[in-house]
Structure formats: C-alpha cells, structure tokens
C-alpha cells in the first residue's frame, strides 16, 4: 500500500471536466511533481485532496483511510499539510505568530482563553522558521512581507504539525529564479530528512526536473504521462501539449503568479 492512492478522481464545473479520471499513487518519502499547462486541473486536484472541494467521483486513500467526504481540518489532522497557489496567511500577525497559530491548533489549544498566544510554542515556531530561513523576520508583520517570503512562511506553517504528506501548489510562484532553486532544495532536504512525501505543482521545469523523483503530466484534466524526468523530457505527447499549447519547458517570464 502506498501512502496516498488516488483512483478515478473526477470533477466537473458545469460542462467543463476539470479533473477527469485521475489515478496515481505516492510512496513514502517520494517527491512527485504534477505538471501541466494553465487550467489543466492541478489546483482542482489539490483542492479535492485536501477536502476543500467535493469530488464528483473516485477515491483518495491516505494510509488506507478514505479522504473524500472529509473536511480540510480533519484531513490536516491526519498529517497532510498544504500550501496555496495564492498564499493564505494571517496578515495581522507576525511571522512567528502565523506559525504559532498552526502549533496551537495542532496541540488543540484554540479554545484556551487565558495564556498569551505569543508565548505558546515560541521555541518550536522559531526552529520551524529557522528551517525555512525566516528566523530573522520572525517579528515582522506578515502583511509587509515580500511574496517569496510569504511562500516560505507558508511552508513553515505547513510543516508545523509534522505532516507525512505535503501538498504544495506552485510553491515557488512569484519568486526570483535563484530563490526557487533554493526553496525547492530546502523542500527536498526536509522531505529526505523527515521522510515526508511531497506532491507539488510547478511551472518552472528546471525546478521540476531537478527535484522530483517522478513526474505526472496533466492536460485538460487527464494524466497523459507519468515517469522520471528523462522519460517525460523525451515523451512526444508531452512535448506536443507544451509546445502546441503555447507553454514551453523553459520558464522564467511565462510564470504566472495568480490563478
């Protein structure tokens, strides 16, 4: 049994089949990239995996447990962390408090009415921030961070409850090329050291080829190819989709930062 088994996953919006019969599985400690042109259905897939969106059909099993039908917060408690394509953080808190919030929830202290939140789990929050290289900004207001820093903060938040699986929707969107490499190296090293599996989408092919154990290509809701970096690079259908679809394998300027 794999860590995550997705079978026959389907979702339509009106007439549009955003995700059509998707099947894949993810092993423990594996870095799996989900790539595909804009509008392929990547985010829709993620949203079904973390319970934000109801699937029309199919099954998602995480360590043998069916996820479809569960809500995001219960799925999170099973040990699945998520980052968003457009960052979702708490703008009126400091960077550290953002991470503390996840820790407070993890320790089931959100109904605590008396202790100071800023003093709760501060050490743990600091070391998470250190992991993503944000410790120097711990006391800054989250609302004034640069976008790339927000992405790193989101990673720290997603790591707070020691997840076994990370779902990362375009973790490096909006970052400078050098920053992307650094961030993905970081994710890869965390995945290795704590044996966390990562499913991520990414438009930057350098990043994808360098840091994934395996790739899946999604086009118009369907998986058209699965394999290692070399296999995907030489796959004719994939080339067709990317070149024909107007997107290219190289990245840089083509990057899109918002949905």
């Amino acid at each position: 049994m794999s860590l995550l088994d997705v079978t026959n996953l389907c979702k339509s919006f009106g007439g549009v089949r955003a995700v059509n019969d998707v099947n894949f599985s993810l092993e423990k400690g594996e870095m799996l990239a989900l790539i595909g042109p804009n509008g392929a259905g990547k985010t829709t897939c993620f949203n079904m995996l973390n319970g934000q969106l109801k699937a029309d059909r199919g099954s998602v099993s995480f360590q043998g447990q069916e996820l479809l039908g569960m809500n995001p917060r219960d799925i999170w408690r099973l040990g699945i962390g998520r980052t968003f394509q457009i960052t979702a953080t708490f703008a009126s808190m400091t960077v550290r408090e953002n991470v503390q919030m996840a820790l407070i929830s993890h320790h089931r202290k959100v109904f605590s009415l008396w202790n100071r939140a800023t003093n709760s789990y501060a050490q743990e929050a600091n070391s998470l921030l250190q992991q993503v290289g944000m410790e120097h900004q711990a006391d800054r207001a989250c609302g004034v961070l640069a976008y790339g820093d927000l992405k790193r903060l989101e990673l720290a938040i997603a790591l707070a409850h020691g997840p076994q699986l990370l779902l990362m929707d375009e973790p490096t969107a909006g970052m400078a090329p050098q920053e992307r490499i650094t961030l993905m190296e970081l994710v890869a090293s965390i995945a290795k050291s704590s044996n966390v599996s990562v499913l991520f989408t990414e438009h930057d092919m350098d990043v994808v080829f360098a840091h994934s154990d395996r790739l899946m290509v999604l086009n118009r809701g369907e998986i058209i190819a699965t394999g290692t970096a070399d296999e995907i690079r030489s796959n004719e259908v994939v080339k067709e989709v990317y070149l024909g679809g107007g997107s290219t394998f190289d990245t840089g300027e083509k990057e899109k930062t918002s949905a």
Binding site: F84, F90, S92, E97, S105, V110, H161
Partner: protein
C-alpha cells in the same frame, strides 16, 4: 369567507407600500452595496412632503396626485444630493462605516423634519374620490386599499421594464454583477450610481407619500419602516426586486393573518420568518450568492502588541484616578462615570466580535437588553437579590447569544449583519409586545441595588470593579490562543480551515463570550437606573454601540474605550440641547468622512512610539 378575503386584501395593500420602500432599498444595495438606514428617512420625508404639497396645491384629484408625485421626485432629488455629498465617499469603506454614516443621516433628517414640521402627527386628507369603501363578499374594502393593491404590481412591472428594456437598466444590472466591468465599458460609473440613488429614493418617497391617507406623518416612521424593509430585502434576496415583491406579499399577509392567530407576537413574526429563510436559503428567496465579500479595505491591521511600559503606567494612573474620583466628585459626576463605564463594557464586548472576530453585528443591543431584562425579570418574579440578579444577567445574555449565534455564524458579510439585526429586533419585539410578562412599553420598574450598594459611590465602585475586571478578561482573551484563532479566521478563512481550526465553532463561542459581557453591562445598567424599557433593545441602542466602536477605531483595542467615553460624554452634553440629533449626526458624518481610522487610530498616528509600541515599518494604519 368574506372576512378572510378582506384580511387578505388588507395584507396585499400593506405589501404594496412595503414593496415600494423595500424595492428602492434593494436596488440601491444591489448596485452600491450600501446598507442604507437613511432609506427609512426617505420614506418619512415622502410622507411629510406629500402633506405639505397636498396643502399647497389646489385640492382635488389632480392636486392630490400631483402632490404625491412632486413629493416623491423631491425625495429622489434629496437622495441624489446625499449620494453626491456623502455616499460617494464611502462606497469602498467597510460595512460598518457605511451603516453608521447612513445612521448619521437618519439623525440629521429626524431633526430637520422636527424643525420644519414640528413634533405633532400630521394627518393627511383622504385621496379624493377614493375615500369610500366597496363591498366585496359583504365586507367593506377601502377603495384606497384596492388602488394600492394595483399599484404594487404596477411598480414592479415598471421597475422590471426599466431594468430589462432600457440601456440604463442593462448598465445597472452589469454594475450589480461587476463594478469594474462597467467602468471598462467607458460608462461614467459615478453618474450611474447617482441615478440609481435617484430611482431608489424616489421609490421610498413614493412609498411614504401614498401612505399619507392611511397613516399620519410622524417622526417615528423612519425607523419603524426600515426594520421591516430590511426584513423584506433580506428575505427576497438583496438586490432582487422581484424577490422584494414576493417577500413584501409574504410579510404583508403574515401580518394580516398573524394578528388573528397570534396577536401578541406579530412584530416577531417577520423576523422569525427572516431568520428561518436565511438559515435555509442564506441568500434569500431570489438572491444570488454574494461571491465577493468585501472586508475592510486598506492596509491590514498591525500585529497585537503588549502594553509598553509607558502605557502600563498610564493604565495604572487611570485606575488610580478612577478610584480616587468619588473623593472629589459629586453624585452627578459619579452617575455619569458609571454610565460611561457601563457603555465602555458594552462597546468593548461589541468590539471583540467585530474587531478580532471580523463579524459585523448590527444587533448588539440584544445581549445588553437580555442581560438587563434577565436581571429585572429575576427580581420581579423570583425576588432575587442584587448579586443573583447580576449573575442572571450574563447567563441570560449568554444563552441568547448561544441561540442567535448558532444561526448567525452560518452566514457572512451583510447577511450575517442583517441576521444579528433580526435577532435584536426579535428580542425587542418580545420585550415590547409580551406585555403580561415584560410590562411592554411600561417596562419593569423598581430594580434597585442592594442596601450596601445603594449609595451612588458604592454602586460606582461596584461598577468600576466589574467593568474593570471584564475589560481585563476580554483583553486576556484577545491575546490568548482563542482570540488569535478568531483573528486568524478573520484574516484567512482558507488558512484556518487548512490548519485544523473549526472557524464556525470559534465564532459561535465568540458570540457567547461577547453576549456574556454585554449581559454584565446590561445587568449593571438596570440596577443603576432602577428600571428597564424596551428602548434599550432597539436598533438605536445597537447603533450607539457601533458608533462607539467606530468613533474609537475598529483596529485598536483601546478604540472602543475611547469611543465609549467620548460618545457617552458627547451624548450627555448634546442631548440637553433641542436639536441634539443634528449635532450628533453631524459629528458622526464628520468622523466617517474625515477621520475614518477613529479617534484612537488618529491618535496612534500622532502619538510617540513609547505609547503605541508601533514600529515604523511598512504601511501604517
């Protein structure tokens, strides 16, 4: 049979005038997203102006209808004037600002009407040629009612044609869906909005004007009608004119038949129906889901800071001053100070749900009133002593918040605000109409403090102790994980759900907490006054709370305290004057337009860092 038909027709006739007001409100909301309290004032002005013109113009059919039309159009022009001078400035402001600003307009218009037309009710003439009644199945039906029954659908048709068959209507509908799109079309958006205001307020004016033969023009019309108009608009779906029609008929008939079956709870019925509709269909009968919820625009709130050393000294100094005051102050000052303290707690509890909670409550008076009535009823029927009364107060209010909150947290944005308003109106109606138990309009008298607290000074210390402790506890909660989780949910619903927090239960609990503390304020209030009346539950009281919060500034925890103090003192000063409402309304409008960050926010900008603990980084509030 004939009797029921007559009742049915009466229901339809009231539905028509209700529809005129509500459709105007709905149209204005649909396009501008402003929840306009002043719409009730437009209605009232329609009635008064019609009275004036009926007397000026020659008597007879032409004169009468001429007066009605002139009055309506004039109200439309007044609407345009207000749109250009005021509303235009606040389209992008948070709901709270808009609501309070429109309430400022209500106050100003009330006093202008008092000044122009006097305090007496003004009876209009019957409509010429329609003064009689026709017999239908043996029952006399006023001819004028029949006319109204026709008028409602006729106006619905006219509005429908206007919106669906004219270019203007197409543009307005486009603007309802997407404001940016219309400006992209190269249409001058501000004039589109202005014209919408004209149509909406003309309809309200017409609603008031045609009411003249049925009801004397009076100064209470504005707030009386606005509650029902809100209900209709919300039930129908905000922005939907056919929805407003359907809901008007529903409410009109409900009132007509409800009075036969449950004469004691007619006022509650409409609000109960609204609560049920909102829970089943959160966007009203014919409304569309409101995809974009507009929170507070502008820069995000700053992270919470602990007190700086200097502010700690100030807090202690203030506490010492408050403790020492009775030594030098006379009884009047102590009573005023007690009032200020009580309303401080009221405002702080409201701020808790609105600021960190991000939930705009238009009906906070409900919990204040539940606390006050809870204590008063316990004294009246159980003869409890003061301490028990003060324990009953927060329990009663907390239970009320537990029930209302359960419904409210299912909604968001304007709909949530409307449901909180409905909850408050329900409690008000019960207090007002359930005469046998609550004494109705006469209130409950003779709720005096215990012997040991009967001196003004003793009661002042009791108030100071309870309010001080409550404010301290609320502050602790805001800084505690619970308060943080609440803020977190306000900042990003997506993120809190993705880190395992159940936002709804967080918000529900916040409702209960805010209710409990408002209930303590209500309990203290009833013992300090010795009596309680339904007025304490009325919209005006809820709006008082909103004004206090706004006055102080929503983004700061000190804000509601500053707001409550300045509000209560200002009120104490101006209510002695004849035309205090106009001054008060003026102050409100001034603040909304000139100092939207509130007094505390304004001070924060100009005070030194040692007090505010702010760092000069990035955007300042």
């Amino acid at each position: 049979m004939g009797f029921y038909l007559a009742q049915f027709l009466t229901g339809l006739a009231s539905a028509s005038s209700l529809f005129l007001v509500a459709s105007g409100l709905s149209i204005i909301f649909g396009v501008t997203r402003i929840v306009n309290f002043a719409h009730g004032s437009f209605f009232m002005l329609g009635a008064y102006l019609a009275y004036t013109f009926v007397n000026i113009l020659p008597h007879g059919v032409l004169g009468f209808w001429g007066a009605i039309i002139v009055a309506s159009l004039l109200v439309g022009v007044i609407g345009v004037f207000l749109e250009i001078t005021l509303f235009r400035r606040i389209y992008k402001a948070p709901e709270l600002f808009q609501l309070v600003a429109t309430f400022g307009v209500v106050l100003v218009i009330q006093d202008l009407a008092l000044w122009i037309w006097g305090a007496e009710d003004l009876f209009g003439p019957r409509a010429p040629g329609l003064g009689g009644a026709v017999r239908i199945l043996g029952e006399p039906i006023p001819q004028y009612d029949l006319l109204l029954i026709v008028l409602g659908p006729a106006v619905l048709l006219a509005v429908w044609l206007l919106f669906n068959k004219t270019r203007w209507g197409t543009l307005v509908r486009a603007a309802t869906q997407d404001r940016e799109m219309v400006s992209a079309l190269g249409v001058n958006q501000s004039w589109l909005f202005t014209s919408v205001f004209f149509v909406g307020s003309t309809l309200a004016g017409l609603g008031g004007a045609i009411q003249l033969p049925r009801e004397a023009a009076n100064l209470l019309m504005d707030l009386n009608v606005i509650g029902e108009a809100f209900v209709v608009v919300v039930i129908g779906g905000m922005g939907s004119v056919p929805g407003a029609f359907l809901a008007s008929v529903l409410i009109g008939e409900l009132n007509a038949f409800g009075i036969l079956i449950f004469p004691e709870i007619t006022l509650v019925l409409a609000f109960l129906v609204m609560a049920v509709v909102l829970v089943v269909r959160p966007w009203g009968l014919l409304g569309k889901p409101d995809a974009v919820l507009r929170g507070a625009d502008g820069p995000p709130e700053q992270p919470l800071k602990p007190f700086t050393a200097t502010s700690k000294y100030l807090v202690w100094a203030l506490a010492a001053a408050l403790l020492a005051t009775p030594a030098i102050a006379d009884e009047f000052v102590l009573v005023l100070l007690s009032d200020i303290l009580i309303f401080t707690l009221f405002a702080v509890s409201l701020h808790f749900i609105m600021g960190p909670g991000g939930l705009v409550s238009f009906g906070h008076a409900a919990y204040f009133g539940l606390g006050a009535y809870g204590a008063a009823l316990a004294v009246k029927y159980l003869g409890v002593d003061m301490i028990s009364g003060l324990v009953v107060a927060p329990i009663a209010a907390g239970l009320g918040a537990l029930v209302f909150g359960w419904f409210c947290v299912r909604l968001s944005g304007v709909y949530l605000a409307m449901l909180t308003l409905a909850a408050a109106q329900i409690t008000w109606s019960v207090a007002f109409q359930w005469q046998d138990v609550t004494g109705g309009d006469d209130g409950i008298l003779g709720i005096w403090p215990a012997e040991w607290a009967s001196e003004k000074m003793a009661y002042y210390y009791l108030t100071l102790a309870l309010v001080g402790a409550s404010v301290y506890v609320i502050r602790r909660i805001v800084y505690a994980p619970f308060g943080y989780a609440l803020r977190a949910g306000r900042d990003s619903q997506l993120r809190v759900e993705a880190i395992g927090i159940n936002l709804k239960s967080q918000q529900w609990m916040a409702f209960v907490i805010t209710g409990i503390f408002a209930g303590i304020a209500g309990g203290l209030y009833v013992y300090s006054k010795g009596s309680i009346f339904p007025d304490e539950l009325h919209i005006a009281r809820s709006v008082d709370g909103l004004i206090m919060v706004l006055l102080g500034g929503i983004q700061s925890l000190i804000g509601p305290i500053v707001g409550a103090v300045s509000f209560t003192m200002l009120e104490d000063l101006v209510t002695r004057l004849d035309y205090w409402r106009i001054i008060f309304g003026g102050v409100i409008l001034f603040i909304v337009v000139i100092a939207p960050e509130g007094l505390a926010g304004f001070a924060r900008k100009i005070l030194p860092e040692s007090l505010t603990g702010k760092k000069n980084e990035g955007v300042q509030i």
